[in-house]
Symmetry: C4
Subunit: 247 residues, 4 copies
């Protein structure tokens, strides 16, 4: 009956013991990410590098033990046959994230040290934290429900950005051949401008380019406004549906 | 009966064959736009320029064949007389976009090579993609329904921008005669500031100008907030109306 | 009965003739503002200055005639005594804007030419355009209804901005004594940052200042989010109330 | 019965006399903060420093008298025993803010002059002003009700920011080793970018970095959109609940 108990501890968050385990794992994830981030600061790395490496190693061991336990205990799912329970966990979203969190470290220690980028994949351990948030479901449900509207809008936004990029290329290429050197470069300008970030690394200087940008910017407001409206309306509808079902 | 079949394939998206044709055309449009954009990058243009030109030529031929087929098959509309069906398609929004997507290339090959701007009009081919999105109608319906509110707001926004431009001209013209050289130039600053882009190419440096901008900026928040509120409220109302009609 | 007719033409927009007059006056206002703005551009002013001055003079004469007619015809309000009708118009919002649009020009021609700022007050003529928008009432009603919420929020925003200014002053004053020289100067930074404009004329460079700004910025999102939410909710409620009254 | 009267004057805002006292105290707080802020401007401090110090001293005395009166009168709460009434006020949110507003000045005059930061804590006096706003409750209620959603979203936003920081570190560290020197430094970039502030002190210059930032920015729009949607939906629900209760 140990398997059944571990299953409930790791796969069902319905007991106080399971919540303690969840909290501890969240702490390990945050510590591991903090150690990864701080180790890129030169001063900190020189003085505390060994400690930070030790924290990351400990976290890796804990994640490995946790993953093995999760796979093993998944066989004790009362609603599934053992092989089905394991397969279901391994190929679920959380199972893949758990694997992605430990696999890079093994690849690295197997000789691929030079692939520094792989080490950085460890950050995806953070995504496992989403497991701990319960009201995340509500947000995900609204986003899924409004996915067609959001995708259509994203499509429209991309068309507006493409048209902006081509327009500014024509208006500014001759005046600033280095800044607006090509349409992909102009697309970068269009995205930075229409999301209202506006770094200031590229902006129009000709009267024509400024006039074109002014018109595009007033459309850019809609780029911020429409998805907000879609999400606000989706949340309002969701709250009403929930209320009606409970009545 | 070939005409009737082509009509359903190109003018009605209700069969799986029609959806395959739609998907292929979307792919051609995207490839064509990507080729147009990449050809403006010097390095890519030098090495792969011929291939990119070939892709654009192929796309042009496909668009021409498609346009001719659409016009021809429009005569087989069962609800219209042949001439009416053709006229209806040619002068519809999509028909004009289709024409605008192929016409510039012919003008260009007819000797107007120097008119580079016309080549760039090809980008409007992208707008034809809107045809493929079905939930676009919902968004368009809400925008049309809220058009009076959005226009009134746009009018108010323009007044605020004009007042900002005149105010900053008076406050900063003496301190920065080059940056805030004229009211149209100040209008550029007002638009960049009130849409919260803030490139950093022009900003007030005098205490008076900063105080004036602070007040204007707090109004500028409303410029972002009001259209979002209008669209969110419009989407909520639209969802409720749809629900009531289905009850 | 001429007075009664002029009254309906200028004070009631319920006939097609009144709408034509409104449209013509809107055109004159826009022309007058455009002439004022373009006259500050050096090149345009040198070549076309006389024409632009002439347009502004014509507009001034039209505005004066219009104002006199409005005051005179206000006496023919059927619901009011003549003196009350005139007093009501002169001291109404529109009456004061109309006066503000013509008064500065007389002061200027009376010798106060050096007071260039007064000339710029002419821009307020634009505000009269609001008279032409009918759906502006709806927006104004929602804003008035939500005024207590919006004011409370504006108050909270000001407190957040003050706290941000004092915090950044303490964090960055020693590192950048010129940029963050005083708390009013820091308040300018706080407003530019929290409205997400971010010109780039002042930003923190110390680790403490960056950490403080990061925390403040996540609050700054709320500064954009809350008024939008208030207005969106107000518009939704207003639409529901209107619907209920019509049922 | 003086105690009872003072209790109603300071702890219940239900009489016109109490509202006058509230208004006067608000004025003193604003004057005190303005004096604190202006005293950091060198020119003003040199010329009017003594006056500004005098205003702050007067405000301090008024705050002390007010605090003593509030504590003393809290004993006359008709619903509580004297000791309970005092304890309740002293440890309430407002009681602690009132204490925090006067304590730093005493610490300072007791020799800790060098701790300039403590002086700046006076700004928290401003927070007492919240007491005067009654519709603040509504906003606070909605925020509290939507707290789980807002926290979940804040958590998601942090994950997106962390992933952005790690991604840009990998993409830009080699090209700009000084600007993107470490992951914490990249986190600063991620926050400034995703809140759409975009100072322009750090931005990607490599094609890979720009592509990555473009993708991240389109997600960044959601960072602005989701909390707005949550708050808008919360306010709409709150208004409906209030309406139902009154029906």
């Amino acid at each position: 009956m140990v398997g059944r108990k571990v299953f409930h501890l790791l796969h069902r968050s319905d007991s106080s013991a399971a919540r303690v385990v969840d909290g501890l794992l969240l702490l390990v994830i945050l510590l591991s990410v903090a150690a990864l981030a701080l180790n890129t600061v030169d001063d900190v790395s020189r003085d505390y590098g060994d400690w930070l490496e030790a924290i990351q190693l400990c976290a890796l061991i804990i994640f490995c033990v946790e993953y093995v336990l999760r796979v093993w205990s998944a066989a004790y799912d009362p609603d599934k046959s053992p092989s089905r329970g394991i397969a279901r966990f391994v190929f679920s979203g959380y199972g893949l994230i758990d694997l992605a969190a430990i696999l890079p470290s093994f690849l690295e220690s197997a000789g691929f040290v030079s692939l520094r980028c792989i080490r950085l994949l460890r950050i995806f351990r953070v995504l496992r934290v989403a497991r701990f948030a319960s009201s995340f479901d509500r947000l995900a449900r609204v986003l899924r429900r409004k996915a067609p509207d959001l995708l259509t809008f994203a499509f429209l936004a991309l068309i507006i950005m493409l048209v902006s990029a081509v327009g500014i290329y024509y208006a500014e290429h001759d005046a600033q051949p280095k800044v607006f050197s090509s349409i992909p470069e102009c697309l970068w300008w269009a995205i930075v401008t229409l999301t209202t970030v506006g770094y200031g690394d590229s902006y129009p200087i000709t009267p024509g380019g400024k006039l074109f940008t002014s018109v595009i910017l007033l459309l850019g407001l809609a780029i911020v406004a429409v998805p907000t409206g879609i999400i606000a309306s989706g949340l309002t509808e969701d709250a009403r549906d929930t209320r009606r079902q409970s009545e």
